[in-house]
């Protein structure tokens, strides 16, 4: 294709045309990432809205919701407990090391309690659920897609999004706060064992500082964040699996993408949620 030339053939016209082309290319390069981001968010929002539409439409398949709650929640319980215990113990270890500089080790209960409730428990739980349940969702849905099981559902006049996606998203949103509370409890057990049994912190001070500084609000914030993470990670996983095209290799790639997209979306949304909650509930001394 030739570039349009000026009417009189003057070189100035060609230069203007070339500059216009460069400007357009630069603008396009600048806009492309934004367009990609909007498309990414838009596609997933559409899937989420379709899935939520299915929640209020008959037939209601309670069994599917319970199965998914078992998969996301009960199935993830061992890894949540394991990670929760060591996260609590490591938090206590770090807190004691820092507080010892000021001879204030007695605050370890408060430090670990608040950090677990607001940050560590919801984020680590979300990352664990992404790795275990999110990857499982993407693989299962991807396999169903490439073996035409999703098409088969449509031939029986069953809405595949209502049947497959809605229970997965709802189950993840419901189970995330519960798993976060389990993480909190086990994390505190880890912190207790390290602080009291290994570092010989006074038990009375540990409990007193924990109960004085840790507020129910911290747990409300943590559980609300967990529910939001439940939406972002399950939508990311379901989208990657549901829209797979190709074969086994593509299912593998979709699973990887689901874990990456789920983890990134959890951490990015965490950043914004912290700000939102600090505006709603400012820190009080």
């Amino acid at each position: 294709m030739t570039a349009p030339s000026s009417v009189d053939g003057a070189p100035g016209g060609q230069t203007e045309s070339r500059l216009g082309g460069i400007a357009k290319a630069l603008l396009d390069a600048a806009v492309r990432p934004l367009r990609g981001l909007l498309t990414y968010a838009g596609d997933r929002t559409l899937l989420l809205s379709s899935a939520m539409g299915g929640l209020f439409r008959k037939p209601f398949r309670l069994r599917l919701f319970l199965e998914q709650m078992e998969f996301v929640g009960v199935g993830s319980l061992p890894i949540i407990c394991f990670v929760g215990f060591f996260s609590g113990a490591v938090s206590a270890q770090q807190a004691i090391a820092a507080l010892r500089i000021f001879n204030q080790e007695r605050f370890v209960g408060a430090t670990v309690g608040i950090s677990l409730a607001q940050e560590l428990a919801p984020v680590f739980t979300a990352l664990m659920i992404t790795a275990r349940a999110g990857s499982g969702m993407a693989t299962e849905l991807g396999s169903m897609r490439i073996t035409e099981q999703i098409d088969a559902l449509s031939t029986f006049a069953v809405d595949p999004i209502q049947y497959l996606i809605t229970p997965r998203i709802v189950a993840t949103v419901l189970m995330m706060p519960i798993m976060t509370m389990v993480f909190n409890i086990i994390g505190l057990v880890g912190a207790y064992i390290y602080s009291i049994l290994l570092e010989h912190i006074d038990l009375g001070q540990f409990i007193e500082q924990f109960t004085y500084w840790t507020d129910p609000k911290d747990y409300v914030i943590g559980c609300t964040k967990a529910a939001v993470f439940g939406i972002t990670l399950s939508v990311a996983a379901c989208y990657q699996g549901y829209y797979v095209r190709g074969g086994a290799k593509e299912v593998g790639l979709a699973t990887t993408s689901a874990v990456v997209a789920g983890s990134v979306s959890v951490l990015v949304s965490d950043f914004f949620l912290i700000d939102i909650f600090h505006i709603l509930w400012p820190y009080q001394s």
């Binding site: 073996t147 035409e148 099981q149 098409d151 088969a152 031939t155 029986f156 006049a157 069953v158």
Partner: protein
């Protein structure tokens, strides 16, 4: 190239497509033709896949649609099933144009259909009984005893009852042929009028292929259904087809009985038939 433009009249059987008449004739229930497709177009940009399909499906017979890979056979099948909407054209089922149907009407229409997928598309998470019963459980509230009675009747009629523990087996535990039969049982459980088969013999050895052919013929006879088979297996096609249509270049280029089709001089068809080894290359049409 449009094959129809370069060859003699495409349709062998003048009583079919050529004598279709106007919309008035199509809008009446015809004793011979159950499905009548007129001027069907579908584009998946930039590909114009279906370029004006005219096709008639004979009631109670085994209708086979042949064609090479990528010619749009599966796309045509999905239009017949109502899983895709055409860009233009009409699909008359028992004298009713179903293209303008909404989702609810389409869901009702699909009860007339059963579909057997290329690799059966059985649900991996369900055992054989749950797979076969799925359409009944989704559509009606029937007593469990009646559902089981119908499932066992189909297992018996499709020679599956003697397979040890078949009812509790999961799809990965079944052979290719057994999977096809279970897929057929699932398609038949709601007593459809029309059965669609998507390349049913792909991936099977010659003996299994012959068994599936017999199964298709016996099903058409025993259950009195109209069968539509998408295939590129010429030996099977001429063994079981009552009516054969060939799809090439986005159009039906020939349609008729096995004898009529095998004698057609159309180069695209000759190449297809000769390559399959059914007639010697260069043999008179």
């Amino acid at each position: 190239m449009n094959p129809q433009s370069a060859h003699p009249p495409a349709v062998v059987d003048p009583s079919a497509v050529g004598a279709s008449g106007g919309a008035g004739a199509l809008a009446r229930r015809d004793e011979r033709w159950q499905i009548r497709v007129r001027g069907l177009h579908k584009t998946f940009p930039p590909q114009h896949v279906l370029r004006g399909i005219d096709l008639d499906i004979e009631r109670g017979k085994t209708n086979i649609i042949i064609g090479g890979s990528g010619q749009g056979k599966s796309v045509l099948m999905k239009h017949l099933m109502g899983l895709l909407k055409p860009d233009a054209g009409q699909i008359w089922v028992d004298g009713v144009d179903v293209v303008p149907f909404n989702d609810l009407e389409m869901a009702k229409l699909r009860r007339k259909y059963g579909m057997v997928f290329q690799y059966a598309a059985l649900f991996d998470s369900m055992n054989v009984v749950e797979n076969i019963a799925f359409p009944l459980l989704e559509r009606y509230k029937l007593p469990k005893s009646e559902v089981m009675e119908r499932v066992r009747d189909l297992l018996k009629r499709l020679d599956l009852e003697n397979v040890g523990g078949i009812e509790q087996k999961f799809p990965p535990e079944l052979s290719g042929g057994q999977r096809k039969r279970v897929g057929l049982a699932r398609a038949l459980i709601d007593r459809p009028e029309i059965l669609l088969y998507d390349e049913p013999t792909t991936g099977l050895d010659p003996v299994a292929t012959k068994n599936v052919d017999e199964m298709i013929q016996r099903t058409a006879h025993d259950f009195g259904v109209t069968s539509v088979v998408i295939s590129h297996d010429m030996a099977s096609t001429f063994r079981i087809g009552d009516r054969i249509s060939m799809l090439a270049g986005g159009k039906i280029i020939v349609s008729g009985t096995a004898d009529e089709v095998i004698r057609s001089p159309l180069p695209a068809l000759r190449e297809f038939v000769e390559t399959s080894g059914l007639v010697a290359p260069g043999a008179p049409a």
